[in-house]
């Protein structure tokens, strides 16, 4: 008997448990940015205003300006829970299901 998901569709293999990386490896990447004194002062001021470290601000900026498929994918994934949250507010269950299925076709190939 075919296993079905909560929408009555065949179970998606989008997440395969066997392929999950079971090693807890921290991937290290270094960021090198060259700044003038004025730029550095401005950068430090911004980090202080936001109450985060300079390292954290540099990382955030790098992630925000990321281009290509990974950048697009990250932006899409950051917005995904918000979209679900909006769909949760719809009262019609059929419409909810249809929208969720359409979302899968949108990000399923990523």
């Amino acid at each position: 008997m075919m296993k079905t998901n909560y929408n009555g569709m065949p179970n998606s293999n989008i997440y395969n448990r066997n392929e999950a990386n079971s090693t807890n490896v921290k991937q290290m990447r270094s960021i090198r940015v060259e700044l003038t004194v004025e730029e550095y002062d401005m950068f430090s001021k911004q980090a202080k205003e936001q109450k985060i470290s300079k390292r954290c601000l540099a990382r955030t900026r790098l992630l925000d300006t990321q281009e290509g498929v990974k950048g697009l994918r990250d932006r899409l994934m950051r917005g995904l829970p918000g979209l679900h949250s909006l769909i949760d507010q719809i009262e019609d269950p059929d419409l909810q299901r249809e929208l969720r299925e359409r979302m899968v076709t949108m990000y399923g190939d990523l």
Partner: protein, 191 residues
């Protein structure tokens, strides 16, 4: 008296002191979701989620954590709310009524974190005490920050839960974690 336990420790004797701490493993997403949804076998009326598609819950939680570059540390939070028989009798007259009421309660409870975190629940009825498992991603999808786990947040959540139970059923939920404190030093001790 209902209880709410926050799971933070390994209880499997195969995990020795010094192994990967609980929920730090990347497979935590899938293992928690599978456990909460009983390998996706729970009926539709016993499960629910906020900001998540139940069918791809683990995958979505993981992808959001990767997108925010928050893939380190504790990945998920697991809570269990368990009811005694006398609590359930206050919630309804028969099994169907009780289940419906517990479902309303679970929806209310996850609403506290559902505005900012991906969260899901599963109602398990296969034991003597009906209980709700709640699984939550530790990445705030609105701000991109990790779940702080502060006392203020913990007490606010307690108040949120107890407001509902006290008003509607007349009982309190007692909160505790499975952390065992060493009597002599007062520090955490892994089981």
């Amino acid at each position: 008296m209902a209880t709410c336990k926050v799971i933070t420790q390994h209880h499997d004797p195969r995990y020795q002191t010094g192994s990967i701490p609980k929920f730090h493993d990347p497979a935590s997403y899938q293992s928690l979701v599978s456990y909460v949804l009983r390998d996706y076998t729970l009926p539709r009326e016993c499960v629910g989620a906020r900001s998540l598609d139940l069918n791809r819950a683990a995958w979505e939680m993981e992808q959001v954590a990767l997108a925010f570059d928050k893939y380190e540390g504790v990945k998920v939070r697991h809570m269990v709310i368990s009811f005694l028989g006398e609590d359930l009798m206050r919630m309804g007259r028969n099994k169907a009524e009780i289940l419906e009421e517990v479902r309303w309660f679970a929806e209310y409870v996850i609403g506290f974190y559902g505005r900012s975190y991906q969260i899901l629940y599963g109602i398990h009825t296969d034991t003597d005490h009906l209980h709700i498992h709640i699984g939550m991603s530790t990445v705030n999808y609105r701000t991109g920050y990790k779940y702080p786990g502060t006392k203020a947040d913990y007490y606010a959540f307690q108040n949120h839960v107890n407001e509902w139970t006290k008003e509607n059923y007349g009982f309190h939920v007692v909160f505790y974690t499975d952390k065992i404190l060493d009597d002599t030093t007062g520090t955490d001790r892994n089981i």
